[in-house]
Amino acid sequence: MRLAVLAAVAWSVGIGAAAAQVPDAALLAGACQGCHGATGEGGHGIPSIRQMQTQAEFVATMRAFRANERPNTVMGRIARGYTDAEIAALAQHFAKPQP
C-alpha cells in the first residue's frame, strides 16, 4: 500500500512540477462512464470495467488496445488519446483495490 502511494508520488512528480498537470481521475473517467456506465458496470455487450482487473492488468489492456494488439471496435482509437500517467490514474479509479 505504502509502495503504491510512493510510486504514485514518483510519477506524478515526474510528469511535471505543476500540480495542474496531475491527471484528475474522476474527470478522465467521464470518458469511460459515457459507455461503460456511471460505475463502470457495462451493459449491452459493453464489458464491465468495475474492479474486474488489477491495476497492472488494466494498464496492460489499455496498452494492448493502443497498439491494436487486442481486438476492439473503438478502444484502440480511444486508448491512443491518453498518456501513460492518465491510464495509470484510470487504473487506480476502476481496477480492483490493491490487496
Binding site: Q21, V22, P23, D24, C35, G45, Y82
Partner: protein
C-alpha cells in the same frame, strides 16, 4: 527528509491518496445551471456526486427531457418517444434543486438569474447550457408556421420527432422524402445522415419504392465514406445525396407546394419534407452577451469559462468548441470539466488539466452501427490528440469475416452508450 516527504505526501491529490473515494473536499458555493439537457443534467449530477459542499440548482423550464439522440430510431419504428423521454425526479432526489421555470435573464452584475415569475436565483458561479435555437427565416419562408408542414425534428422542446414520424407513416408508397441539411456548424453533425439511414430502414420494410433526396448545404459530412458505403449495401438506389457543389443548398422553401428551392433555382418537391434549418446558441446565451457575431459562444478552451463574460461557464452545443462536435457526449464532457474548474476556482486552486472526450455512434441499419471518436485537450486552443480517435474502419479495412460482426457490435454498443449516458444524467 521527513519534512520533505510529508510535504510531498500532503500534496497528493485526494484522487491518488484515496482513489475509491470519488468525492473531493472543496469550497462551498452556490452553483446555478441553466438548461437541463446533456450539458446541464450532466453538470448537476457530477457537481452533486463529486463536490458535496456545492449547493446545486438546475433551472429548466420543461418537466421532461426528450433526447435528440435516438430520435431517429423513433422514425425507424424501433423506439417509442416514451423510451427516450426522462424526468428530473432522480436528479432532485440526489439533492439537486430543480426549478421548472423559464430563465428570463442573467443579471451578472448582481449574480442572479431572473425567472419567469419575477423571482431571482442568486449564484456564486453560473453554468449556461442553453442548447440551440433554430434560426427561423434563415432559409426564406421557413418559419415556425412552415415547420408544421415541413417538420425539422431537430429540437424536441420546439417540436417532437413524432410530427415527422406521423408524416412518414402517412406518406404513400412510392413517395419522395426530401431533406434540407444545413452548413456547419450545427447540432449533431452525423445526425442528418443517421436520419437518412433510419428513414431508409423504415421505407425498405414498409414502402420499398419510396425515394430519399438529401439536399445538403455543404460538400462533405461526418462519417461520409461509412454512411455512403452502408447506403449502397443496404438501400441500393433509394438515396440521392446532393452536396453544395451539386446545387444542394436550399435557400427557400414553399410549404404550400411542399417544395425546396435551391441556390440555382431547382425546385425539389417532396411528399414529406424535413428541413433542418441553420442554428445558433440558445436565446438566453445570446441575450446575456455570451455569443459573438456568429451566434455561438466563444469559451476559454482550458476551462470553458466564457471568453466574453468572466464568471459564467458555457457548455454544450452553444459553444464554439471545434474540433469537438456539437454532441451530447461532448456536452457531458464540457459539463464535468466546467464543474471541476468552478470547484477549483471557488477553492482558489488552479483548474484541472483540460482533457475532453466524445464518441458518436450512428445507426445505419439493422445490426449495423458506425462510430466516430475523439480525445481533445484544451490550452490556448482546443486540439484533437494526434494519432487518436477517428471513424470506424471501412469495409476494405476489415477482414471479410469480421465485417458483419464489427458493425453488429457497434450497433449494440450504441445502445449501451445511450443507456449509460442517460442513466448517468437521469438515473
Amino acid at each position: 527528509m521527513n519534512a520533505t516527504r510529508r510535504a510531498v505526501l500532503a500534496a497528493i491529490p485526494a484522487a491518488f491518496a484515496a482513489p475509491r473515494i470519488a468525492r473531493a473536499q472543496g469550497a462551498a458555493g452556490r452553483v446555478v445551471i441553466i438548461g437541463g439537457g446533456f450539458g446541464g443534467a450532466s453538470a448537476a449530477r457530477f457537481a452533486r456526486d463529486r463536490f458535496p459542499a456545492l449547493d446545486v440548482t438546475l433551472i429548466e423550464q420543461s418537466r421532461t427531457f426528450t433526447t435528440c439522440p435516438y430520435g431517429n430510431l423513433v422514425l425507424a419504428g424501433r423506439r417509442s418517444i416514451e423510451s427516450i423521454t426522462f424526468t428530473y425526479d432522480r436528479l432532485a432526489a440526489r439533492g439537486v434543486r430543480v426549478i421548472h421555470q423559464r430563465a428570463e435573464a442573467i443579471d451578472h452584475a448582481a449574480r442572479r438569474v431572473r425567472l419567469a415569475d419575477g423571482s431571482a436565483v442568486p449564484y456564486d458561479r453560473l453554468i449556461v447550457s442553453p442548447g440551440i435555437d433554430l434560426r427561423w427565416g434563415a432559409i426564406e419562408g421557413y418559419d415556425e408556421a412552415a415547420s408544421a408542414r415541413m417538420p425539422h425534428g431537430w429540437a424536441p422542446y420546439v417540436q417532437p420527432i413524432t410530427v415527422l414520424e406521423r408524416q412518414l407513416r402517412a406518406m404513400p408508397e412510392g413517395g419522395t422524402f426530401v431533406m434540407a441539411i444545413p452548413d456547419n456548424p450545427f447540432r449533431c453533425p452525423p445526425g442528418p445522415y443517421e436520419r437518412i439511414s433510419m428513414v431508409a430502414e423504415y421505407f425498405k420494410r414498409h414502402k420499398p419504392r419510396a425515394k430519399i433526396i438529401a439536399l445538403d448545404a455543404k460538400n462533405g459530412f461526418s462519417k461520409q465514406p461509412l454512411f455512403q458505403e452502408a447506403w449502397e449495401a443496404l438501400y441500393p438506389g433509394m438515396i440521392e445525396w446532393r452536396g453544395a457543389s451539386n446545387d444542394g443548398r436550399v435557400v427557400r422553401v414553399d410549404p404550400a407546394a411542399m417544395e425546396c428551392i435551391t441556390e440555382f433555382g431547382d425546385r425539389v418537391r417532396g411528399d414529406v419534407v424535413n428541413v433542418i434549418p441553420p442554428q445558433s446558441a440558445g436565446r438566453i446565451a445570446r441575450e446575456a452577451g455570451l455569443a459573438n457575431q456568429s451566434g455561438w459562444c466563444p469559451i476559454k478552451p482550458a476551462t470553458f469559462e466564457s471568453a466574453q463574460v468572466p464568471g459564467i461557464w458555457v457548455i454544450g452545443d452553444a459553444t464554439i468548441a471545434a474540433p469537438m462536435p456539437k454532441s451530447g457526449f461532448a456536452a457531458s464532457s464540457h459539463a464535468k470539466h466546467a464543474v471541476a474548474c468552478i470547484a477549483a476556482d471557488l477553492a482558489g486552486r488552479p483548474p484541472p488539466p483540460a482533457v475532453f472526450f466524445n464518441t458518436c455512434y450512428s445507426h445505419v441499419g439493422e445490426d449495423y452501427g458506425i462510430s466516430i471518436v475523439g480525445v481533445f485537450r484544451g490550452g490556448d486552443r482546443l486540439v484533437e490528440v494526434e494519432g487518436s480517435g477517428g471513424i470506424s474502419p471501412r469495409d476494405a479495412q476489415l477482414p471479410p469475416d469480421r465485417r458483419a460482426e464489427f458493425r453488429r457490435l457497434e450497433s449494440l454498443y450504441a445502445d449501451g452508450w445511450y443507456e449509460a449516458i442517460t442513466g448517468e444524467m437521469f438515473g
